[in-house]
């Protein structure tokens, strides 16, 4: 598929980068680190840390335990990118999203056409709001307690630190549950539970670069719907504003849409073809 390799390269780059740095951090703490690899905790590298600490930072001038200034820096950078491109962090950078996509290929290979069709559409619609409840809960309990409560349940943290002994049993269980679900549903954590995805998804409503579909040149093959990792119905919309869109560009004519210049990621309003 044309141009799909760019996203794969970027996803692989950030996955390996995060894995190396966070692993080296644990090794450094044990006196075994490699000096030529940077070292930082996973919490220092996660922009969601900036979200959860925002309340305490604004009201009391302190960071929630385990969160450092780097998380706030990352929050600012990702927020800037999100205003431009929507939840692009989810589609191109988040290592856990990438992990689910890669694991999902196994599910696709085994289940073929049945893959990603196990949850009834009506139920799926309501389940998509669950991640907002998770977001509200995480922000609230963190603000009230001043502690990183979500760390106990975070499968992303578990993925990269399960070997270090510093991960909660609950997070391991949620990680394995997510991995199992991924074999049946594409990106289940992103769709139903990720609080950061919920937060960034809001920017899709006003992002500067939007996914527009040209109705005149569209041949209604629905290839865009099939290629969308978040199962968004693109073929019947003119501008994708769904909070679930991760700006992966899989639906665009640059990647999978067979009609030239039909589904575009652009900074202008939808233009009618001459």
């Amino acid at each position: 598929m044309k141009n799909k390799k760019y996203r794969s390269i970027v996803q692989g780059f950030f996955f390996i980068l995060i894995a190396l740095i966070s692993t080296n951090h644990v090794l450094v703490e044990k006196g075994l680190g490699l000096s030529f690899i940077p070292s930082a905790s996973l919490h220092a590298l996660c922009p969601f840390g900036g979200v959860v600490t925002a309340y305490n930072l604004v009201t009391a001038g302190i960071y929630v335990q385990k969160i450092h200034q780097s998380a706030v820096v990352l929050l600012a950078i990702v927020l800037f990118l999100s205003i431009l491109f929507g939840a692009v962090f989810c589609g191109w950078i988040c290592p856990f999203g990438s992990f689910q996509e890669w694991l999902g290929r196994l599910g696709k290979a085994i289940l073929k056409k049945k893959y990603n069709h196990f949850i009834p559409e009506k139920l799926d619609q309501y389940l998509r709001y669950l991640r907002y409840l998770v977001l509200i809960w995480v922000i609230y309990v963190t603000a009230v307690s001043g502690k990183l409560i979500f760390n106990t349940y975070d499968p992303y943290h578990a993925l990269f630190t399960f070997w270090s002994g510093e991960v909660a049993a609950e997070a391991i269980v949620i990680l394995f549950a997510t991995m199992l679900l991924t074999l049946f549903v594409e990106r289940p954590w992103c769709k139903y539970a990720c609080p950061y995805g919920a937060f960034l998804g809001i920017t899709n409503l006003f992002r500067i670069f939007k996914i527009n579909r040209q109705e005149k040149s569209c041949i209604s093959c629905k290839r865009c719907d099939r290629e969308c990792p978040m199962s968004i119905s693109i073929s019947d919309t003119k501008t994708v504003k769904s909070s679930q869109c991760i700006s992966c560009l899989n639906c665009t004519s640059e990647v999978s849409c067979p009609a030239a210049d039909t589904v575009r990621f652009e900074a202008t309003k939808r233009r009618e073809q001459a």
Partner: protein
């Protein structure tokens, strides 16, 4: 203006890595704690580092440099012989995991208690235990009040080398008391055998209405302390009743030991 995948790839990598580099140049890219605890803001110790803010990520070297306690004393106290400087407080939990399994927690809070007693600084422990070796160091190096000695007697765990099986806890039950400094001595307790005697029972704050580190606002309200009285002591309102008073004080920059004493006085008057 159309955005193609190749261009977006380059922009994302450039902005993220470039943003991090730029923030690093400005000194904003900080990925670890400063290893400098907060200081007392009031009282006779104002301006001194507060052992209550020692974090699990602090190494013995950080504590030695900050509190001016010789590194070898920290190593001897907690039975650390290899790489003492780099040893982090949070590692105590895994080193002394057997004692935790027996119900006697030795971890970061043990270091806080040790440092507080070593330097005669006020600190409210959370029913924390110290290894016998730490108690020995304190007796040799610090001037301990009778209350502090009594606390240590009831909160000492006889620890063999960490690789050996833990010793069986003696059965004598001793009520744990708060940890005063020498400056606040009250009537000395009856003479007791100095042999370590951890409590066989762990009483909760709700059993004896003693305000401790783990006491929540819920418990205070159940003990009959009115919300107005609590907020009068705190000087500000609280909303989450499930929160511990200590965590609230820590978040609000209030000295917990002062609040504890005032709340305890209200409870005792009832």
């Amino acid at each position: 203006m159309k955005m193609k995948p190749a261009a977006l790839s380059a922009i994302l990598i450039a902005f993220l890595l470039g943003g991090i580099l730029f923030s690093d140049m400005l000194g904003l890219w900080i990925t670890e704690s400063s290893k400098e605890p907060a200081k007392y803001t009031s009282g006779q110790n104002a301006g001194q580092y507060n052992p209550a803010d020692i974090r699990g990520s602090y190494s013995f070297s950080d504590i030695s440099n900050t509190f001016k306690i010789p590194l070898e004393n920290l190593g001897t106290a907690f039975g650390v012989t290899d790489n003492v400087a780099a040893f982090q407080c949070k590692e105590l939990e895994s080193v002394y995991s057997d004692t935790a399994a027996a119900g006697y927690e030795i971890g970061t809070d043990s270091v806080r208690v040790f440092v507080a007693m070593y330097l005669d600084l006020p600190y409210q422990p959370e029913d924390t235990y110290l290894p016998a070796s730490a108690v020995e160091v304190l007796k040799n190096k610090a001037e301990l009040s009778t209350e502090q000695l009594a606390y240590l007697e009831s909160h000492t765990y006889p620890i063999p080398a960490p690789s050996a099986a833990p010793a069986e806890p003696p059965v004598q039950a001793v009520q744990p008391d708060p940890l005063p400094t020498q400056a606040a001595q009250s009537e000395p307790p009856p003479a007791q055998d100095i042999q370590p005697t951890p409590t066989a029972e762990h009483t909760t704050a709700s059993d004896d209405k003693q305000v401790k580190g783990k006491t929540t606002f819920n418990e205070l309200l159940e003990w009959g302390v009115s919300r107005e009285a609590i907020e009068g002591v705190l000087g500000k309102p609280f909303s989450t009743t499930a929160m511990t008073v200590r965590d609230f004080c820590s978040n609000e920059g209030i000295e917990f030991s002062d609040v504890k004493a005032q709340l305890q006085a209200i409870i005792d008057k009832q």
